[in-house]
Every structure is written in structure tokens, then in C-alpha cells.
């Protein structure tokens, strides 16, 4: 009996793979390898002979081509880690079969409610089977959904001879949530021409655009008050900095978080119109991108 995408998903989310921005290790947490190792053994069992995890914790595997055509090698990629923002220990996935609509109160913490008003996408899910947490952890659909989807699709591509395809590479990375997901990837070994990350949100979306960003650091040197200086000579650098900040438009203002945070959070899409200079979503952005 082959595993469905749901079987795989439920299995993967129960493995704690939280990454840690404070850790200099590679991968940042050893526990991510628990899932990576499981993936290698599952992939081997399915029939992917070359499936392996390298010393940096990256999993590589190949679906061999079953066509004579010269097809560019494409890669499907997702990350095994979950965000440091919320606990991923002891995830107890809850299944709501045939969702009838309405708010969802989470059974392990009744103060937590997934409200239709805040999650209007729920309106498109009537009759579907929903998976939530019990309210005490995150779920880790980001991005174990992507992992489960890629493994499931790869099995179909390997076994269903009626679907012609070129060589397909599978790549599962650690530490995406702390901005280190591709630091140690071996692109030569991967050998793909093009790739797709399966890491977006709403069904049907394809994203090919990000912001460009620069970090700016303004260093101000003021005049300290020394004995013998007149009081009026003192120029307080902090005060000057405050004045500069006050004049900045709200779309470019100082970061509050110094500690690196995951940048996958609350990823939002905009329909791009024109230049799309929409920067009001500052707080979310700061949570997402590490300094």
C-alpha cells in the first residue's frame, strides 16, 4: 500500500525539526537530520537508489528520465526545518474531515481559534479535510507539506510509466527559516538547470518575484560634553539619530529586531501593479528578514 501525501505529511510534522538562529552548527539543530534521515530511507524504499544525506544535512535524490528526449533537468526543493518563532515539539495534528465552515477552536488550547474572519481562505475549503494543530505548537506545513508533496509526486513519476519526463532532482534543505537554507547546497552535485521550491501558501499560486533589499547603517558622531566646553557645544548623537528617524517615511525605518529571525513567516503576495512599492507591512517584514 503506497503512502498518500496526507500519510506522509502527518508522519513528518510529528518530528521536531525547529532550526535555531543562535546556533553556529551545520545544520543549526541536529534534530533536523532525524527527518532528513527518514526521508533518505523512505526514498530508498520507494526505489530512489541514489538518495542520500550529505554531511551538511542536505538530502539529494534523482527520478531518472524515462524519455529519449533531451529535457532540461529540473529540481523540486523544500525545507525540512520549522520556524524558531513557535514550538515544534510534540506536534499533535488534528484532522477535521469534511469541513463544514465556521471558526475552528483548537482542542489543546481553547483560547486559540482559527477564525474565518482572519483566515478567509477557509471559505474555499468547505467539504475538504483540514489539518490543524492542537493549539500548543505550530503545525510545520511550512514546509513539511512541500516535502510530503515532492516525495509523493516523485513516487508517481518513478512508478507510473505512462508519464514521460526528463530527469528530476529532489532536494531537501535544512535551516531555511533562519536564512541559511542554501548556504551549503552543492549545485554541481545537484546538476539541475531550473528549480521550483514548493514553499508557497494558497493553492494555485506561483511566485517569481521578491523585493530587492539593502541594509543601511548610519553612524553618527556627535560632540561629547567635555569640561571646559560651553554647554551649548554638546551635540548628542542619540538625539541626532532620533531626529533622523523622525524624518524617515514609514516605509524605511529602523529595524527593531537585531536577532536573526526566520523570513518565511506570513509571506504575503501582492498582485503587482506597476512598480508595486507597497511597504506598509513593515512589522511582518522585520520579523522575516534577519539583519
Amino acid at each position: 500500500m503506497t503512502d498518500t501525501v496526507l500519510d506522509r505529511f502527518l508522519r513528518y510534522v510529528q518530528i521536531d525539526t525547529q532550526s535555531d538562529p543562535a546556533s553556529p552548527a551545520q545544520p543549526s539543530t541536529e534534530k533536523q537530520k532525524t527527518l532528513s534521515r527518514l526521508l533518505v530511507s523512505e526514498l530508498r524504499a520507494i526505489g530512489f537508489a541514489d538518495a542520500e544525506m550529505d554531511s551538511n544535512g542536505y538530502v539529494y535524490a534523482t527520478v531518472p528520465a524515462n524519455t529519449d528526449k533531451d529535457v532540461p533537468v529540473i529540481c523540486f526543493c523544500s525545507h525540512v526545518d520549522t520556524a524558531p518563532d513557535f514550538s515544534g515539539t510534540g506536534v499533535k495534528p488534528q484532522i477535521i474531515k469534511n469541513y463544514a465552515g465556521g471558526d475552528i477552536t483548537l482542542v489543546g488550547d481553547k483560547s486559540r481559534v482559527i477564525r474565518v474572519s482572519e483566515h478567509p481562505e477557509l471559505n474555499n475549503q468547505i467539504g475538504n479535510d483540514l489539518i490543524t494543530t492542537d493549539g500548543t505548537t505550530l503545525l510545520g506545513a511550512d514546509d513539511k507539506a512541500g516535502v510530503a508533496e515532492i516525495v509523493t509526486a516523485a513516487e508517481i513519476l518513478l512508478k507510473d510509466k505512462s508519464i514521460p519526463h526528463g530527469a528530476i532532482k529532489l532536494l531537501f534543505t535544512p535551516d531555511e527559516e533562519i536564512g541559511r537554507g542554501v548556504d551549503k547546497v552543492d549545485l554541481k552535485k545537484l546538476g539541475a538547470r531550473f528549480a521550483y521550491t514548493m514553499d508557497g501558501e494558497t493553492a494555485g499560486t506561483i511566485e517569481d518575484e521578491t523585493f530587492s533589499a539593502d541594509g543601511l547603517e548610519i553612524s553618527i558622531t556627535g560632540v561629547a560634553m567635555h569640561p571646559g566646553f560651553a554647554k551649548g557645544r554638546m551635540e548628542n548623537a542619540i538625539k541626532i539619530a532620533g531626529e533622523i528617524i523622525a524624518r524617515l517615511p514609514h516605509d524605511v525605518s529602523p529595524r527593531r529586531h537585531r536577532r536573526p529571525r526566520g523570513f518565511c513567516a506570513s509571506r504575503r503576495r501582492d498582485r503587482l501593479d506597476g512598480k508595486g512599492n507597497d511597504f506598509h507591512d513593515r512589522a511582518r517584514f522585520h520579523r522575516r528578514w534577519p539583519p
Binding site: 501525501v5 528526449k69 529535457v71 529540481c75 525545507h79 483548537l106 483566515h119 481562505e121 475549503q125 479535510d129 494543530t133 493549539g135 511550512d142 514546509d143 512541500g146 515532492i150 509523493t152 509526486a153 542554501v182 547546497v185 531550473f194 528549480a195 514548493m198 501558501e201 494558497t202 493553492a203 494555485g204 506561483i206 517569481d208 518575484e209 521578491t210 523585493f211 530587492s212 533589499a213 539593502d214 541594509g215 543601511l216 547603517e217 548610519i218 553612524s219 553618527i220 558622531t221 556627535g222 560632540v223 561629547a224 541626532i240 539619530a241 524605511v252 537585531r258 518565511c264 513567516a265 506570513s266 509571506r267 503576495r269 501582492d270 498582485r271 503587482l272 512598480k275 512599492n277 539583519p291
Partner: protein, 138 residues
């Protein structure tokens, strides 16, 4: 010495837009400092990441095929943008052009996170259709 530092980030979809914003920050700092003759400032700019569209537009079939695969999997494709950096943008600039497809999850990074089985199945179909398309169009 009396010192202070302001750290900030500027974002735009285009590099030209980024430079405009950086020049504006410089103007503001200059104007403020003008009132403090004994003080000075310096701005250091550090590249954080670049819009992956620059890379993906050179191989438009990456997104075209994804759009078609999503359609064949029974959905209405929606093209979007991501705020912030992603593995996809970094891979794109490392030489592996990479777009991002939905995985179906919602409310990432929180205890309210949820997903449906049906949307995961649609993602599986999208991957299969995409593999088929690349062969078909080769």
C-alpha cells in the same frame, strides 16, 4: 566620542528604486546634521538580496510551464510576489533559476497554521504535470 548608529533596511522591486530610497535617506541625514556643525555621519550600504525576477525573466518558460501545470491540475493560477528573501531568490542568483510554487499551508509559523488534504493533493498533481510539461515541450 559621542556615537549612535541607526540600522535599517530599504526594499523595492527594482534596484533603481532602492538607490532612490538610499539617496533619500542620505538627504534626510544631511539635512539633520546641518543643524549640528560639530557632528558628522556616515552611511554604509550592504546588499541583502535581489529580486529573483531579474533571473527568472531570462527563462520565462520556468513560470509559463508552472502556470500551465497549475491549470492542468485544475486550478486558476495566481502569480504573486514574496516579501523578503527566499531560498528561491538565493538559488536564482547562485545560478539555479528557481520559482516558488504553493504548498497549500496557511498562517505559517503560528499555532493557527492549517492546511487541507485536497490542496496538498493539488500540489502533487502540479508537480506531476510540470514534469510532464517539460518533457512535452522539450
Amino acid at each position: 566620542m559621542e556615537k549612535a548608529t541607526i540600522s535599517m533596511i530599504v526594499r523595492d522591486f527594482t534596484v533603481a528604486g532602492l538607490h532612490e530610497k538610499e539617496a533619500m535617506v542620505d538627504e534626510i541625514a544631511k539635512a539633520v546634521i546641518a543643524n549640528y556643525p560639530g557632528s558628522s555621519y556616515r552611511i554604509a550600504v550592504k546588499e541583502q538580496y535581489r529580486n529573483m525576477k531579474e533571473v527568472l525573466d531570462k527563462n520565462p518558460e520556468i513560470v509559463e510551464f508552472a502556470v500551465e501545470a497549475i491549470r492542468r491540475a485544475g486550478m486558476e493560477p495566481v502569480r504573486g510576489s514574496i516579501r523578503g528573501g527566499t531560498d528561491g531568490s538565493r538559488l536564482s542568483f547562485m545560478g539555479l533559476p528557481t520559482a516558488n510554487i504553493f504548498a497549500g499551508g496557511h498562517a505559517f509559523h503560528s499555532p493557527l497554521e492549517w492546511i487541507s488534504r485536497q490542496d496538498m493533493e493539488k500540489a502533487v498533481s502540479t508537480i506531476v504535470e510540470l514534469a510532464r510539461l517539460w518533457e512535452e515541450r522539450a
